[in-house]
């Protein structure tokens, strides 16, 4: 049985007069690791944010983990974790406190081992305002792990990370895979995506331009450089 963890039909979203996402229909099998490719501004982040219910779709719909993103927002949210461009942190609080805030809303105890896992134990009690971009990314990753979600959406997770961070993220993704979670990862790192992911989706100007096995993914969209 191949249940779909993510299923979208005609999904569209606009910012002002520009369509960031238009008429995207796709399905992602539960338990698969999918790469989301596309140039800057092709709609990758918008797609992930719509799937995470951070943005409402303007047209079309999506089901994530079996629930409707419009009508069953809270049920979707219980099963989805998003690592986005914004790290969702309070600058004035420490790393430990930030995780504690998230844990208190999740009704969980603060898992201290997560900070060690992402390599932040030495700076756990420093305010996030003093963190570098890479450290913020690590903290955001710890928060995603805390959520223990069925569907994990990673928006350029490798950005700003150092080489040990790359290795950490590779490990995390393979652990998520072995746990049976579905991962959709937007990234520009084609080689890494081909190696880590099962399937790939490519967006071009808000539309789905290519989909298939990650190993066969072209470096550019098929109609990549067409200019009318």
């Amino acid at each position: 049985m191949t249940a779909l963890a993510v299923e979208t039909t005609g999904l569209s979203r606009r910012y002002g007069r520009r369509w960031a996402l238009s008429d995207v229909s796709l399905g992602v099998a539960a338990g698969s690791v999918v790469m989301l490719a596309g140039r800057n501004g092709s709609g990758k982040s918008t797609l992930l944010r719509v799937l995470a219910t951070a943005l409402r779709p303007d047209h079309g719909n999506a089901r994530v983990a079996g629930h409707d993103v419009r009508l069953e927002r809270d049920l979707v949210r219980r099963k989805v974790a998003l690592l986005g461009h914004h790290s969702f942190h309070y600058e004035a609080l420490t790393a430990r406190e930030n995780l504690g805030v998230a844990a208190s809303f999740l009704g969980r105890s603060n898992d201290e081992s997560l900070l060690a896992r992402v390599g932040l134990e030495a700076r756990a009690d420093d305010p996030v305002a003093s963190f570098s971009a890479g450290m913020r990314k690590r903290l955001a990753l710890a928060r995603v792990l805390l959520q223990d979600a069925e569907v994990v959406l990673l928006d350029e997770p490798y950005g700003e990370l150092d080489p040990p961070g790359f290795a950490l993220l590779d490990r995390v993704i393979s652990e998520l895979r072995s746990r049976g979670a579905t991962v959709i990862m937007a990234t520009h790192l084609v080689e890494r995506g081909r190696a880590l992911c099962d399937r790939a989706l490519m967006l071009e100007e808000g539309r789905l331009a290519w989909s298939g096995p990650a190993a066969l993914m072209p470096a550019e969209a098929p109609g990549g450089s067409f200019v009318p």
Binding site: A52, T53, R73, H86, F88, Y90, A92, L93, S104
Partner: protein, 221 residues
């Protein structure tokens, strides 16, 4: 943990960490009181008469700064959105923030009272009653103020729009608080304090329930 308690804890922790901002807001309010006194000049009776009004004007002006600050940290890294996606109950987030803002504004108001007493020679023997009025008035500012700050924090023109939306709305709360404070300072021969307190209570009851109801519509996309 109860989501409201979690939200309140988070907001109190945030306010504790940014307490230097609160000190700055207090200095702003105190200097507003000082400047207002120049509008009257060295006339002891007039100063006493207007002390209550100026106290609340100073608190109102300072409150727009404090309310906007309280959403600054939520918006910087989209922390509020992150909590909503967990998911956290938006009503709990609203009431946590509104109660934290109420405490902060009450503290600010209480701290401005000695400044008023010194500058305007406007003391009162009924200190607990005055503190009660300050809490009720601060509640009237914080309930709609928290809602509108959540709205305007997402906009470019936030600094203009928050007072533009908030000031006309809080007229009844302000009138009630000013009158009650003045009655406490100047004496209340006709026993009107109760009516003004009731007005404040009614305003607070309406807006604390209504704003909690609509907050979700304001913060969700």
């Amino acid at each position: 943990m109860n989501p409201f308690v979690a939200a309140l804890r988070k907001d109190l922790l945030l306010q504790w960490r940014t307490r230097s901002q609160l000190v700055a807001v207090f200095v702003f309010g105190a200097s507003a009181l000082l400047l207002f006194s120049f509008a009257i000049g060295p006339n002891a009776a007039a100063l006493r008469q207007f002390a209550g009004g100026f106290l609340w004007l100073a608190l109102l002006l300072a409150s727009t700064l404090a309310l906007a600050d309280s959403f600054e940290s939520e918006m910087a890294q989209h922390a509020l959105e992150g909590l909503l996606l967990l998911p956290a109950d938006p009503r709990a987030l609203y009431y946590g923030k509104a109660v934290a803002n109420l405490l902060q504004l009450s503290l600010l108001g209480a701290a401005l009272v000695p400044v008023m007493v010194v500058l305007y020679d406007a003391g009162t023997a009924r200190v607990p009653a005055l503190l009660g009025i300050i809490v009720l008035g601060a509640a009237g500012l914080s309930a709609p103020g928290t809602l509108y700050a959540a709205m305007t924090a997402q906009l470019r023109a936030r600094n203009t729009l928050l007072p533009l939306l908030l000031f006309p709305l809080v007229v009844p709360a302000l009138l009630g608080a000013v009158k009650a404070t003045s009655l406490l300072i100047l004496g209340d021969p006709m026993g009107q304090l109760g009516a003004w307190t009731m007005l404040l209570v009614a305003f607070d009851a309406i807006y604390w329930s209504l704003c909690g109801l609509v907050f979700e519509r304001v913060v969700e996309d």
